[in-house]
Subunit: 239 residues, 2 copies
Amino acid sequence: MTDLPLSDILQKTALFSGLEPAALQAVQLAAHTCQSAAGSYFFLQGDPAERVFLLTRGRVKLTQMNPDGSQVLLRAVGPGTLFGAVALAQGELYPVSAESAEDSGGVYWGAASLQELVLRHPQMALNAMSLMAERVQEFQQRFRELATERVERRLARALLRLASQTGRKVAEGVLIDLPLTRQDLAEMTGTTLFTVSRILNQWETRGLVTLGRERVIVRFPHGLVAVAEDLLPPQTSQP
Amino acid sequence: MTDLPLSDILQKTALFSGLEPAALQAVQLAAHTCQSAAGSYFFLQGDPAERVFLLTRGRVKLTQMNPDGSQVLLRAVGPGTLFGAVALAQGELYPVSAESAEDSGGVYWGAASLQELVLRHPQMALNAMSLMAERVQEFQQRFRELATERVERRLARALLRLASQTGRKVAEGVLIDLPLTRQDLAEMTGTTLFTVSRILNQWETRGLVTLGRERVIVRFPHGLVAVAEDLLPPQTSQP
DNA sequence: CGCACCTTTGAGCTCGGTCAAGGGGCGTGG
DNA sequence: CCACGCCCCTTGACCGAGCTCAAAGGTGCG
């Protein structure tokens, strides 16, 4: 899936959909390729936002730090995903850090040249606005969830979202195909690794998931949906 | 502040900044005016997003409902603010409801005509992307706050944000110039009206704020900043 | 095979949610 | 102008979900 020619990848990217071939080619000409080994960063929170990235291979975690050192994991993305789009606005700093969860590759555009492309091909502007509108909605919704729902439900939702975004079908179910520690899951759902561990193990005994080191396999999504949606008494842990 | 001619208001709106006069005039020609009495809605969550609004008078609360009936207050906005911008993306439903907190007036554009204006005047596209990038950042940050900080700190931040956005200088300090119940504040910060009431009263005895029915006056912003930022032992309530 | 890091599990505690009761401001109608 | 009633707000008591801290397993890599 990484061996496709760049032009094919671009064509499938929401930001560039509906562009005429000449525009696509201009986009491609302005693109630079880049690599990032597992554990290293495409950019750091606070860096001037000068590039917009498109991931072509690997996995990237987008995290935001607190002044006090704790952090949250805002998104975990796979190939075909655009990130760092904040650089489309001028004069911003990256609000997050982009860390490779595995060896990754991507292409990027300089902010100025992408802005120029937007000015020249306004269809891209509409695409970009759709993308960002979607992003705003996602975070508004997650904000609401965090404000009003308990941990168990948020974790169920997070797993379902991950399974649908970066899931890979395996024998036992849907493997979340990126190395995710309990700590990472805690940072995505606004809780602690201890609570995540407890809930996951509870679910494992119920047959909903299979656990491993930095691995979760969702065996029975329907059960998670039941937890996420409503039914089902909040279910305290009792030995 | 509501008696300015529309053209002046448009000129000051971020979305239209940097447009040449002809473009501004086209924008103005496409605008429709509208009114909304206190307690009524510009639009409801789930309605097809067909209009983008610019508030010219009054106050509007943007809220999102849970399936279970509880809700969160995502933004409280005043004159000059654009809302419903999700309509710039095609085929979306409004993810929030927009309720007038007092008698309000605004102008709106149909989604299609605004999209057309964007296509014709790409500077607007860049402006729109800046706006939405800012919005994404705001919610990412609030998500992080909600995930990692305790209520007291979140409430302090919320008050400071409100004071700077919709604050009005009065004798005793900065009045948050919109009728906000304790419940509203709770919905903004992801807590309950009881906790908000307790914390505010604690602050009042410390001289940080002055309270009234649906009113908060910030007397000593610096003290709130101290609560919001770090220092200062978490301070449990003790009679 | 040893070290680093991830994970599990237990015990205790606390922040803040829940529920109940009552006080008080403000508009409305008599 | 007063009285009623609605809603907003306060305060107390209780308690429980989930955080904190500590101590051991596991697991994989060098």
